[in-house]
């Protein structure tokens, strides 16, 4: 199967800080790729490089065979990449439906659809994430879970082929996480999407992802299936520090193994 996205040797520096250091990976169409790593590993920076918010200092981003490195975000969105924000950014003074309409009007089919058509696309996205009955509410009134789902609906309204989810599960309780995961699976099937998700909720990402890429201090330290990555000593070190110390810590705590933080 063709690669929908290829990230080649991407380096992004902020002054002396190297947020991404020669990161390379590729993903196939239809895949769910988990992007994990401790805080400050450079995950969100990598998303921002892919969506054009930052221009990388080195390296290339190739989407569907086309080099999109350094193109402005709105151009990349129209090519078919949509992103949700880690810190939700709803348009507070607009209704939920109007929020999603922005996605439709300026997404894949920008300038080809009318306001009326955008409304319908937006409404379908809201139905898909379970926000349809809130469509006339103001976005500012939504709960955090609903705002996260609005981010998702807004991104879906752009009709992307590649969806980047930046911690959509963070801040949700276990039941809400289950619901959100179901929605993501459903959305992926119905819209035939490829998805990259940054996630700290380990059991969730280990369950849903086909493959996982691990970043640490800007470097890619591992890549593989969830099992491979979970047993990779470098990954364990990155998350827990010295493995021997980690082992002792686990023993003392009586074997609590929940990786989520």
């Amino acid at each position: 199967m063709e690669d929908i996205l290829v990230v080649e040797n991407v380096t992004k520096r902020f002054g002396g800080l190297v947020a991404n250091n020669k990161v390379s990976f590729s993903m196939r169409r239809g895949e769910i790729l988990g992007l994990i790593g401790p805080n400050g590993a450079g995950k969100t920076t990598l998303f921002n490089v892919i969506t054009g918010v930052y221009r990388p200092d080195e390296g290339r981003v190739i989407f569907k065979g086309e080099d999109i490195t350094g193109k402005p975000p709105h151009v990349i969105t129209r090519k078919g990449i949509a992103k949700t924000h880690q810190i939700v950014k709803p348009f507070n003074d607009m209704t939920v439906l109007e929020n999603a309409m922005v996605g439709a009007l300026f997404g894949k089919r920008a300038r080809q659809i009318t306001i009326g058509e955008a409304k319908e696309i937006a409404y379908q996205s809201l139905e898909l994430v379970g926000l349809a009955e809130k469509s006339e509410e103001f976005a500012v009134k939504l709960t955090l879970r609903q705002k996260k789902m609005l981010e998702l609906a807004r991104a879906l309204s752009a009709e992307p082929e590649l969806l980047l989810l930046d911690e959509v599960l963070a801040g949700l309780n276990p039941k809400e996480i289950e619901e959100a995961l179901e929605i993501i699976k459903k959305v992926k099937e119905e819209r035939d999407l490829s998805i990259i998700m940054i996630e700290h909720v380990m059991h969730a990402v280990m369950n849903i992802a086909d493959r996982i890429v691990v970043l640490h201090f800007g470097w890619k330290i591992a890549e593989g299936t969830p099992e491979e990555v979970a047993n990779n000593p470098e990954v364990i070190t990155a998350y827990l520090g010295d493995p021997r110390y980690a082992l002792r810590f686990v023993k003392r705590k009586g074997g609590e193994e929940d990786g989520s933080s």
């Binding site: 924000h85 348009f91 109007e98 409304k119």
Partner: protein
């Protein structure tokens, strides 16, 4: 969701459009019946015109152009200099019951728009207070340029930056009225169109969260420059016809007071709507007049206090306030745009 209905009946059911038509007809009737003096109507149209012009960048996109009087001044000077030095344009003014003056005002507006477009790319990178300060800087730069350049153009006739048009280069006031009236109708139409179009949705998204808008596909830089250029163009046209009406131009057209007038009218009426600047300018005009008649001397102090109260307690303005309510189950939000 989308039932078939004719566009005409759709528009007839839009109270916003009805109010706009009512305002236009009202002015026409007042003019024909002689209910108001020409000067009063001109002043109302001037206020409404500058409020609707600034509304395009400030109301829709949320960028407070604090030095917007710069375009008033540029339009005014462009117009007066054009008819002063180019005879065919001076003759054109009186043709077609105001259509000629309107066309020369379009030229003046294009000059203001060209300046707006060329500085827009730079100043629109700034946000909030920094953008406001940059536009004030622009205003002062243009003012001092005019003060330096204008006296050189015709040293025998021009004293300082003031230009008084000779009698053969001005037109009857009712001709100016027609040109201003036409400009205002176009401004109302442009505001309404923007409000209803994807462009307007994009501008509103920029106002709410510019970074999110860009990532969602809104070409933010281009949209901001277009909005700023349109705002400059129409302010320039109004400044041009305002100057023609006064028979000349001087540097007071660049006064920050004009900028504040525009901003206050939009804030009183409500940001981000078409009706806001219309209602705001009418209220502001009445208030201004009333206070001047009844409390001369302290009128501006009282006006200032009223504005402060509005900003503190009703920052969404009159239309914004009304839009929060429902009447008989119908949300006013859907009716007042």
């Amino acid at each position: 969701m989308a039932g078939k209905e004719s566009t005409l009946s759709h528009y007839l059911r839009s109270p916003t459009l009805l109010i706009i038509v009512f305002v236009i007809l009202g002015m026409l009737v007042a003019r024909i019946m002689g209910m108001s003096t020409l000067d009063t109507l001109m002043t109302i149209m001037y206020f409404m015109g500058i409020a609707l012009s600034l509304n395009i960048i400030m109301g829709f996109a949320g960028y407070v152009s604090f030095g917007h009087a710069v375009f008033l001044g540029l339009g005014g000077y462009a117009y007066v200099l054009l008819v002063y030095f180019i005879k065919p344009l001076a003759d054109l003014q009186s043709l077609g019951f105001g259509l000629g003056a309107f066309l020369v005002a379009v030229l003046a507006g294009l000059f203001a728009a060209a300046i707006a477009a060329s500085v827009g790319a730079a100043v629109l990178r700034l946000r909030g207070a920094f953008f406001a300060i940059a536009t004030i800087g622009l205003d002062f730069t243009a003012l001092y340029l005019m003060k330096a350049i204008v006296p050189e153009l015709n040293p025998e006739q021009f004293f300082g930056a003031q230009i008084i048009l000779p009698a053969d280069k001005i037109v009857e006031k009712d001709v100016v009225f027609n040109a201003m009236f036409l400009t205002l109708i176009i401004l109302l139409a442009v505001n309404y169109y923007i409000r209803k179009s994807p462009f307007g949705v994009g501008l509103t998204a920029i106002k709410e969260d510019e970074d999110a808008a860009e990532v969602l596909g809104v070409p933010t830089t281009m949209f901001k420059i277009i909005a700023f250029t349109l705002a400059g163009f129409f302010t320039g046209m109004v400044g041009a016809l305002f100057s023609l009406n006064g028979g000349g131009v001087d540097e007071t057209l660049f006064n920050l007071g004009h900028s504040i007038d525009m901003i206050v009218m939009i804030v009183i009426g409500g940001l981000g709507t078409v009706l806001g600047p219309i209602v705001g300018s009418l209220i502001y005009f009445e208030l201004y007049d009333l206070l001047l008649v009844h409390y001369p001397g302290v009128n501006l102090i009282i006006l200032g206090i009223i504005v402060a109260i509005v900003v503190l307690f009703f920052p969404e303005g009159l239309i914004g306030l009304l839009r929060k309510y429902k009447v008989k189950g119908v949300r006013l939000r859907d009716l007042l745009e």
